[in-house]
Amino acid sequence: MKAVTWQGTRSMKVERVPDPRILNSGDAVIKVTSTAICGSDLHLYGGFMPGMKKGDIMGHEFMGEVVEVGPNVKKLKTGDKVVVPFTIACGKCYHCHKDEWSLCDNSNPQAPKAELLMGGESGSGLFGYTHLYGGYAGGQAEYVRVPYADVGPLQVPRDIDDDKVLFLSDIFPTGYQAAENCNIKRGDVVAVWGCGPVGLFAIKSAYLLGAERVIAIDRFPERLALAETACGAEVINYEELDVLEELRKRTGGHGPDSCIDAVGLEAHGTGLQYAYDKVKTNMMMETDRPIALRQSLYACRKGGTVSIPGVYGGLLDKVPFGAAFGKGLTLKMGQTHMHKYLKPLLNMILEDKIDPSFIISHRIGLDDAADIYETWQKKQDGVTKIVIKN
């Protein structure tokens, strides 16, 4: 089959590799019909996340048709149309029982690697997301092996358009959990850093959960436009306005009730701080550039919540923890507990409360997937979300 493989920092390739097979009795093999490239993939492309090996198959957002099931698969059948959540979970452990699916105890076969970094037990395995998260082959391919097939894959109606349900594999639940973590109450103002797919779904979700106003921050006009027109947010272009000052002014001097960092470790910035982080990450003295995180901690109202769906991988510098402490903030973060959101969010789509396909800007074939990473990273060509069609 064909697959997108990681060759090194800023180097991807589409190549022919062996077809996947059943490796555990609860596995299924899925014929991928649609798959997407995620902001998280950019951290691998840019070499920011440790634990990649040459030849790793990329991709954690995918859906398709079940073509083979292992001997212990009871529910899923060949021919079923499914969306696969990007976190891999066993369904039986302490954390799965607690609905904390992205913290599953059993799904990371390379857990000791992660434990060195975490200083504790490893989180769940993830598709196509470094050997720290298990080293599973991902779904930017024609076929993919899916473990615990009765636990993860969500069956969707055969006649529904892939584009409407594909983002149940990650970014819609991720934006939703980010908003849910804010514990939104009526009248609340929520600020969202980053108007990429995760940020856009966080905005939509904040409104679904009862926010009064959402203020969105980015610098790309096409993304700010989507935030404004498709999601109903007020916007701030951080290259034109002072974000902290602007947020204070727009919230009667308090700051937003909750802040969502939907940017993560590769934040871009202006001025001295950005230069400082660039130098430090280049010299390996800091692994992440937490510019949006710093701002969200400074901006948040006393007693508010900072919710962090943006990914961080290592050590952060100059994070104003004193501000967080002084204002009594609540911090929430982590990979999304995907399995918890699949059915409720599918129902919202079926009830026409939301059509997630509004974020798609590019539809391409697998053969063009390697080259488009650069476009996506540089946010060229008006890119908001790329979907690969097989």
Binding site: T5, Q7, P18, P20, N24, E68, K92, N106
Partner: protein, 192 residues
């Protein structure tokens, strides 16, 4: 698992035989969401041990309390063997064993199972004491026990947890990746 109060569950303090005080000691602990009886029964059926002990290449049951162990060492380059006997057996709670006299690697070991209150699963605690035969301790550690005996013990327990909770240990060995020659899985094409 029924909720038990703290009083009812008597923490089985690891029973430490006197002679193990001077050896090299490793211990590890893990918690799993199955009843203590289930883990005890699985462990007590000694032929299950190679399913999760990576270095145990085979075990032969030689009597109700005795068994013969073959342990792979030096990255699989060699094997050491010994006879082991169970010296204490408390169903559902504890198994303690020792190597029989004349073993290359004299050791004692103990595993205890303790069900936690409030549905927090069963704590499985393992303690092994090795008595290096002459020579330096570091030499013994490196040559016989491998690079990280503590880490390997933890890994064995993690595999046991997967077996107990899921019935299987997840793997990525044998999956496809770039740089390999393309092969075809006929099952993927047959149903159309």
């Amino acid at each position: 698992m029924p909720n038990k109060t703290h009083k009812e569950i008597i923490p089985t303090r690891p029973h430490i035989a006197d002679e193990i005080q001077n050896g090299i000691r490793f211990d590890s602990v893990i918690t799993m969401m199955v009843p203590a009886e289930k883990v005890y029964a699985y462990w007590r059926d000694l032929k299950n041990l190679p399913n999760f002990m990576k270095h145990l290449s085979s075990i032969e049951i030689t009597g109700s309390e005795t068994s013969h162990w073959k342990w792979s060492v030096l990255k699989g380059q060699a094997e050491i063997e010994w006879d082991s006997e169970i010296v204490r057996d408390v169903p559902g709670a504890l198994i303690a064993w020792r190597s029989k006299e004349g073993s290359t690697v004299a050791h004692t070991g103990e595993v205890s199972f303790r069900e936690l209150p409030f549905n927090r699963g069963t704590e499985v605690r393992v303690l092994v004491n090795y008595h290096p035969p002459g020579g330096s301790v570091t030499d013994f550690l490196e040559r016989i026990l491998g690079e990280s005996p503590q880490g390997e013990l933890q890994e064995d327990l993690r595999r046991l947890r997967s077996l107990m909770e899921v019935g299987e240990i997840i793997t990525v060995e044998g999956q496809s990746r770039g740089g390999m020659e393309e092969t075809f899985n006929p099952k993927l094409y047959s149903h159309h």
